[in-house]
Subunit: 327 residues, 2 copies
């Protein structure tokens, strides 16, 4: 298959996702300001990586695209809510996302929080309201709930904030960092722990954070595509493995782009992660070893989906594309 055919297939899937998401907002009976805030973030473009993964996984399992679309939309709703909440002043405090002002800069913090809550709820309502048989719908809710909650994405965000604050506080003296600030409660301890850690332990910690924070949702995308198509548990498992590998590779590629990327393409200031003292793969392993790790993960991903034979071509192409992209 040519790269051109692959990219035109991705573009077609992306267009279907955009249309389905737009329809779900159009149909919703919400107060106008809430609709506007949800639409602003949900329809902001982006790569639509997760819903495309749902659709590709369903495809490789022989499923019908229409059956996978509710799961594709649900996962993008979860991803979008997490971006809105992560950008808040009390979290990452970002003013820009994909080159546009973040939700709370446009709508204020209160409406941004509520737009996130609305999207999180809508994701599960969308899964429950589909035309699939009840057994598949309930399984989709279960998989998404496990991936998005405290032992998945939300838990990963908690660990990430703690690691960041630990490393930030490590720069301050124990006198200035303080017991008065509830945000730093308990963090001083983990910061003392971190300074004693070997680099290997810190790579493990970073990998655990990413596996939860971004990997869980990407693996769930693939599993949900398989569930929508009624795939066997072996196929579900292989697609999950593929998801965890590309999820981590995607994160390493992101870290690398933060060092080498172009502000206009990224839609954010390069070097910001380093300025924030964030734990990143390039910072812990160096640039070359990070690139090698990403490449090895992509190989593992491609091996996981070999059981699908030739029909896994799209998934293999996508895995490679993830580490070669420039934004």
């Amino acid at each position: 298959m040519s790269a051109e055919a692959f990219h035109s297939h991705l573009a077609a899937l992306r267009a279907q996702v955009e249309a389905a998401l737009a329809e779900s907002v159009r149909r919703a009976e919400w107060p106008e300001s809430l609709r506007s805030a949800v639409e602003y973030s949900l329809m902001a473009g982006g790569k639509r990586l997760r819903p495309i993964l749902v659709l590709l996984a369903s495809e490789v399992c022989g499923g019908h695209p229409a059956d996978a679309m509710p799961a594709a939309c649900a996962i993008e709703m979860i991803h979008t809510y997490s971006l809105i909440h992560d950008d808040l002043p009390s979290m990452d405090n970002d003013d820009y996302r994909r080159g546009r002002l973040t939700s709370h800069k446009v709508y204020g913090e209160a409406l941004a929080i509520l737009a996130g809550d609305c999207l999180l709820t809508l994701a599960f309502e969308t899964l429950a309201g589909s035309e699939l048989d009840a057994g598949r719908r309930v399984e989709l809710v279960r998989v998404l709930g496990a991936a998005a909650g405290g032992r998945g994405m939300v838990g990963g965000q908690v660990l990430d904030l703690e690691a960041e604050r630990g490393s930030f506080l490590a720069k301050l003296s124990a006198e200035t960092a303080g017991a008065q600030d509830p945000d730093s409660a308990g963090v001083l301890n983990s910061c003392r722990n971190m300074s004693n850690q070997t680099s290997e332990t810190r790579v493990e910690e970073l990998t655990r954070i990413h596996r939860m924070k971004t990997g869980a949702l990407i693996a769930a995308s693939l599993e949900m595509g398989a569930v929508s198509a009624g795939a066997s548990s072996e196929r579900r498992q292989k697609l999950r493995e593929y998801g965890h590998c590309i999820g981590l590779a995607f994160q390493i590629a992101d870290d690398l782009l933060d060092v080498t990327g172009d502000a206009a393409k990224l839609g954010k200031t390069p070097g910001r992660d380093i300025d924030l003292g964030k734990l990143t793969y390039p910072a812990l392993l160096g640039m070359d070893a990070s690139r090698q790790k990403a490449t090895a993960l992509i190989q593992d991903a491609c091996e996981s989906v070999q059981i699908f034979g030739d029909s896994s071509q799209h998934l293999q192409e996508l895995a490679r594309f993830i580490v070669e992209r420039d934004h």
Copy 2:
């Protein structure tokens, strides 16, 4: 049935709910700080009104209590997350809730937001992971999603914030309220509209807000009890009606308590709603007319559940208790 027997039945149900909620937190594999924050809010006591309504509705439909417990826990998780998010500085900015510091005062804003997100997600995961047949589980997710999202609780909170800010901004001149503050964008218009409203229109607006913000979840509690028990659609409908009536009566009783209540019993400062310029029933209708409205709603509620005959006694007692309580 004696009042004593009724209250001891409520106490028994509450104890079962406490145990099931504690178990769901104990079982969860989350980062320790997240577990602590979730537990702090979820296990803070409270009346457990919504889960008790789930169990009573299931009871009146002949369901087994164990079948209704996942729905009972899920609804309390949603209620708790909404309290955590509503208390945030950018929303109602409350330092105390039920006489204890609010989540963000103890854990910081970031962890409070994430604990809310975690509970919201866990609610749906709990429903999907129960032992009920898949058809009932998926229906529970659908009912809860509809009640908790943008056309229910979250939408009601958006309208409530806008109404409050509208009335706050009405006190300021158009020059000082401003285009610079994103929180007030679009609000100036609704504030101009409100000052032209008749008192009747404002009662309608207030009723719409409460129907969404608190009524939807209370009605869903009853409907979910019925769904858990596999009740007919007529019984579901009657229980929903009962729920909407007691939900509104509960809110009016809350507004009345804010004027007449005792700080120690309320766990908050009385008169706060009025100080904040909140739209309340006593402010719009006066105390006597508000009390009459609450009484009429309780009568309607009791009529709705007459189809259950003698077994509706608990629901009737509870309806009366809601307007007679002192905290």
